[in-house]
Assembly symmetry: C2
Homo-oligomer: 288 residues x 2
């Protein structure tokens, strides 16, 4: 509900599934793409009953297999004490507010004391990768995380500043590169390819080069032709195939890029030939 | 193209028009809502020609009434010198990169020297309210601004953290308020009204109160019933009426709120009665 519209919510949830989330609470996304759907009740469900325990019991009656109770509507620890009265049918509890780290530890003790060591703790509430990292580093007994706002609007980087640019013109059979030389927006001429190099199966660097260049060393090409003269020339990849591929590819990134606090970025270079062609086109533009 | 999908782009452009922009470059938004559409060529248009001046001439031939030339593809000042060759038909020039303040001043001199004092300067390129304020404070000869990315994703506040909450339950004819007491998310019970007070036609403060409260002093009610039992009970307001209303309302805000660097926010208070009812409900929940 905090995405930039229903379309962004749906496509964002699909993207989140591709990059590793196990499901979505967006029902339309589940219906359209077949992505697993998860969800718990809202606080309004608990509030609709005069008594919190009555709300839990009604929840369990309605969805006996789910058994996830939202316990932070009034007082989280009190909520946990009421939830354990459901016994083994309590599969999980959800905490959505307050000091999640301290509360999780106390709730874990309440659950364990009641013999519910298999009941899991599900956390939500303005989570992002940094907060989850902190929660895990502090050895919080958390079993699953629900991430919403900060993922769907990518709050620290809400825009991809990508642009489409004209790089080549073919007129009367003659191919000529196009450049843009304005101070803050340099554009390299001609069709490109991106070569990705590996060392021991781990990716080491990418080189942006001209499409017709041959560089030394074993690399694989990242750019593939998808649309030709307005027609798709490659079948769309099934969602599960995309997801598996992303998982494999992420595993092949250098170790340091798996950390949140990495400072050395993945190296992406321009080929010498490309730099040479830019110089040539720039000189030609200047001489006009 | 940097909005969160086509739906967000369209609705965002509509919102921008409501709050004071004079139009949009989003053609679909123009078609659907009748919002005035403006736009200039892309850099690719200029690049598609072997010669910049030939691009300008073809642009003018295609759209003689528009007459806006994008002059920063290669060298802004050189572009300006070529554009003035179009004579009086040159209605405006657009700068989209580089030091907009310094370049505008130099371009203004080139235009004036060529007798084109009526030709205007249109600026674009990662603009936002702070950058435009700086440009204006430095007495830049800028006549119009094109704002894109930073408005459509609201880059400094990309999410409205609004929530829907259950505030009242009517069961067997008995109305009871609902509260939420978790540490970081307090919810006041019952249906609300928001009263807006004025002084000399300028808004002075809002008070959130219970819907049935009567407060002293002249105020007008901000909340109106729009949907009842799933049915709309109020006609949708025409877009131009919304836009005029917003303009009038903004003019009635305290002067300091018209500044970008205001520190004292507009006062929004809760009524004493509402605070009292929260206390009562909270006590009732705690006693269960």
């Amino acid at each position: 509900r905090r995405a930039h519209g229903t379309q962004a919510a749906k496509l964002g949830a699909r993207a989140a599934y591709i990059v590793g989330c196990i499901g979505t609470s967006n029902l339309e996304c589940g219906r359209e793409f077949g992505i697993p759907v998860f969800g718990t009740v809202a606080h309004s469900w608990v509030q609709a009953f005069d008594d919190e325990l009555a709300a839990f019991r009604a929840n369990l009656d309605a969805l006996p297999e789910a058994g996830v109770m939202l316990i932070d509507t009034y007082d989280t620890l009190e909520g946990a004490r009421k939830a354990v009265l459901l016994g083994k049918r309590l599969k999980a509890v959800r905490l959505d507010s307050g000091d999640l780290i301290a509360l999780s530890k106390k709730v874990r003790r309440i659950l364990d004391k009641a013999g519910l060591s298999k009941t899991t703790i599900f956390l939500s509430g303005d989570l992002d990768e940094y907060r989850i990292d902190e929660i895990l580093r502090k050895r919080t007994p958390a079993d699953a995380f629900g991430v919403g706002t900060r993922m769907i609007v990518s709050i620290d980087a809400p825009v991809v500043n990508g642009v489409y640019k004209l790089v080549e013109v073919i007129r009367d059979g003659r191919v000529s590169g196009r450049v843009k030389l304005s101070a803050d927006k340099v554009l390299y001429p001609g069709k490109k390819q991106v070569l990705r190099y590996s060392r021991d199966s781990i990716y080491s660097r990418d080189v942006v080069c001209s499409a017709d260049e041959r560089l030394r060393g074993a690399a694989h090409k990242l750019l593939k032709l998808v649309i030709r003269h307005g027609n798709r020339v490659r079948e769309p990849e099934p969602l599960e195939a995309i997801r598996s591929r992303v998982k494999r590819e992420v595993a092949r990134l250098p170790r340091r890029l798996h950390r949140l606090d990495t400072v050395k970025p993945y190296p992406v270079e321009f080929s010498r030939e490309l730099e040479r062609r830019l110089e040539k086109e720039a000189a030609s533009v200047r001489s006009r």
